[in-house]
């Protein structure tokens, strides 16, 4: 397969951090609240099943990618399903989900910004600023994004660690009881279903060549998933420990609430404004990565020599789609009901299907010989 798109390259460390940061973007939104709703006092356990599923997803994807080293999931899909169905699958499933993910993330991050700092700003302005950052990041390419992720992760990590440690005085370990919260069925089944839907597996499949190929794909994938889920689990645990689960269910943005709770004497208190920096960095990286993924997967599906002409139209579409939901609740609902379910298809179903086709082809060949 001729490689048509020029991408940069970066090391495994940068790839792990980039995907990890992209994965933790959801903890800044109202997503943890929905998990507390599912798990109650055992909210921190809900991502465990999702983590197992994500690791399995990475394993499946790595198996698929190893079938044709040097190609990405886009070329493999086309190879397996033929030029027409393959292209349709690529555009309708992969490019579509990344584009929609970007649109919803733009909207949710903008709403979060409105709630935290700029209460009177029009949503379109904040949306446009996020879009501008996304456009810049996607235009400069995956290599610049990976480097940026590598440069800013100490601040993100440091911010989260400060948050955890400064909240220790507020912790009450009784909040974690009962151990299984609303029941093992909810915690593990429903929890797995709602945490396994992450965009990073399919993004990793799209940018696999820039990350260094299929060989090291699994290693990068596992570690980034562990990082992302570890942060989610820690945040959920800190949330339930600090406020108990019935109160945590009430917060629109649980992370903001936690940052606001910090009180280290009269001089150092209410540090949520500093967390805005971390927040915006993560959001911008996530949006840029999704936009890049959408543009590259579309360009690869359409056999274009460069992805960059697609960035502007896709970005504009993201902006408009992001503005379509009536309010924040509608956006969150779309995220939970539509996006998190739909993303399971390219993450888990598509690789399974591809592997099945490979298996059938192999069997037929063996039978023929």
């Amino acid at each position: 397969m001729v490689k048509i798109i020029k991408e940069g390259t970066f090391g495994p460390g940068e790839a792990i951090i980039l995907l990890g940061i992209s994965n933790i973007a959801r903890i800044f939104l109202s997503y943890p609240r929905s998990l507390v709703e599912i798990g109650g006092s055992a909210a921190w356990m809900t991502p465990l099943g999702g983590l197992a599923a994500a690791l399995a997803g990475i394993y499946l994807m790595s198996l698929v990618l190893k079938k044709s080293p040097g190609s990405t999931i886009i070329e493999i899909t086309e190879m397996v399903f033929g030029p027409f169905i393959g292209m349709a699958v690529n555009i309708l499933i992969i490019a579509h989900i990344l584009e929609m993910g970007g649109a919803l993330f733009i909207r949710e991050f903008s709403e979060a910004m409105l709630i935290t700092t700029l209460r009177f700003a029009p949503i379109s302005v904040i949306d446009a600023v996020f879009l501008a950052m996304g456009l810049l990041g996607a235009y400069l390419g995956i290599e610049a994004l990976a480097r940026t992720a590598r440069l800013i992760y100490p601040y993100i990590l440091g911010g989260l660690i400060i948050l955890i440690f400064t909240l220790i005085p507020f912790w009450n370990f009784h909040n974690l009881l009962p151990v299984f919260g609303k029941g093992p069925k909810e915690v593990f089944l429903l929890g797995t279903y709602s945490t396994a839907g992450i965009a990073e597996i399919i993004i990793a499949g799209v940018i696999v060549q820039a990350m260094g190929g299929a060989e090291i794909f699994a290693r990068i994938g596992y570690r980034s998933m562990l990082i992302g889920f570890a942060f989610l689990i820690i945040t959920l645990a800190v949330l339930v420990l600090t406020y108990n689960w019935p109160i945590s269910e009430e917060f629109t943005l649980p992370f903001l609430r936690l940052a606001r709770t910090i009180y280290l004497g009269r001089f150092i208190q209410r540090l949520e404004a500093i967390f805005i920096l971390v927040w915006v960095f993560v959001g911008a990286l996530k949006i840029a990565l999704l936009l890049y993924g959408a543009a590259v997967s579309l360009a690869r599906s359409l056999k274009l020599p460069d992805y960059r002409p697609l960035i502007w139209p896709l970005g504009l579409a993201m902006f408009i789609l992001g503005l379509l939901p009536l309010d924040m609740l509608a956006a969150i609902k779309l995220d939970i009901v539509y996006l998190r379910s739909f993303v399971l298809i390219p993450n888990y179903l598509l690789p399974l299907l591809i592997l099945a086709v490979f298996w059938f082809k192999g069997r037929r060949e063996r039978a023929g010989s």
């Binding site: 020029k6 460390g13 040097g70 700029l118 235009y139 260094g212 190929g213 927040w279 911008a284 020599p305």
Partner: protein
Amino acid sequence: MSILKKMLSIITYQENTSREGFVLEETADDRQTGQKAGTSPERKAAGEYGEPEAVHGREERAPAGRRSFKKPVRPLNKAGDKSQKIKNSSTEGRQADQVSSQAKGEPLINELSVSSSLAKNRETIEELYGLPDNKDIIVRDIVIGTNPEIDGFLVYVDGLVDKSVQDLLIQALIIFAARPAPQDKGKLALYVKERLLPGNQVSTQSRFRDILDAVNYGDTALFLEGCAEAVLVETKGWEHRAVEKPVIEQILRGPQEAFGETLRTNTALVRKIIKNENLTTELLKVGARNRVNVAVMYLRDVANPSLVAEVKRRIESIKTDFIVDAGMLEEFIQDSPYNLNPTILATERPDRAAASIVEGRVAIIADGSPFALIVPATMYEMLQTSEDVYSRWQLGTFIRYLRILALYISFLAPGVYLSVVLFHHEMIPTELLLAIAGNRERVPFPSVIEVLLMEISFELIREAGLRIPGIMGTTIGIIGALILGQASVQANIVSPILVILVAITGLSSFVIPYFSLAFTLRIYRFIYIILGTTMGFFGIALGLFSQIILTANLKSFGVPYLAPTGPRTVGGADVVTRLPVFFHEKRPDYLNPREIIRQPDISRGWLKQKDGGKDN
């Protein structure tokens, strides 16, 4: 019609060919270690097929090098394939001369050779130099006192030559040359060079281009009757500054010499420090009109050959008429001229240039400029001074961390202040909030106007302090700042807290050792003021994200600008934390030098002896 075409060309897609930047190749060692670690299949394939394939493979995946806001029309982009372009580039300088001389209807000086007729040579010289109007070109007829006597004439530029050397030369030719002349007049020049002249550098040339270059650079040319070659004697001796103390990069401990305006002195200053036969000084000519000599200095056995080739390729490809300072050259050869950050380091310290050369970098010194350009340069190097290494390592490390703090304060402080005051009051403890509010109570302006007023006045004072002649410049600057600060507070135009803020910001920007970077941060500061005022911390975050991603994307001669942190490479002992010198075992990995080891793991032999106890 043309407008329509232009508009169509704006909206139609055209592949940007200029994005393939120069990428510094990894050395063979690196590739091997990379393969062991299990890298991409392409990289493996590249290694198997040898160097040319590897280069090709890398280029295909090469990251976007420079992205220009407006694509500049570069001669290399115009036509022909890449290899041909590189081959052609060495002759392009000459072609530029031809073009300019043809345009004026002058004879093609490059084609002109010395004739065996003295009268014809004289005529050519007079025509080329525009004599007799051109008064500082001296043509002196002499008769060489050999047997038989030979007619000849000397050409030199008055003021550029050393009169005493000139006298010796003329004496030697007229008085002390009493010996038989050779029969074959064609070999006269060689005879004069070998037997008659005492000058320290003597050569023979037959092309007028070379002869004029030498004469314009202070040499004396001797033309002889019947000989189709001219003798060039080195008689350089113009007025110049002595080696003085550094002005911009002052340090307390370490050598106190600075580069001057004379190229040879500058190269000698570097060579004086690096006493090594592998130190190579290549001379290239730039500028069709003033034909400046540019020295490219590197260590043959350390610097990456592809880096040296790239430096020479960029310098040789420059087509311009006039270059007088390294700053102009810098703009011609740097990777991302549209980005605010400088990607080339200019230094006036020979010791710094020497240290960089020993690390595997290349120094570029233009004649007439007291600054050497160091490539490739990363941002971390721009935050270092030579003193960090000369003083004790604890002090060096402490100062570097202080500088990093100053870096952030210098461009972020006013913007963050504005966003806190305008958007995030809750962050400020109540007492401080009341203090700020109390101070601001009588000030009639919004905070942003206050900050802008003070910042702009500060910039004015700084600029004025620099331009006021003589020693009173800095004094007036400081007094002006004090009076302005004091008076503006008393007049209730700004609040006192703001004066403190602007003063700290100003101090911080003076802490940045590399002035180009300090200028960059001054401009960034105003951008952050606007962002902080309009969107608070959200705006600051927007600015930081954009700045980080744009800066992380920069390259300096194939080396990422934020190496070794973005991308992460082997850190080394001298990035921000300056470990003791006996830990500096390796050269920077991102430079991919030919020889990466600087010193063995145990560089302090005396420790080993004492521990072993066998030698005692």
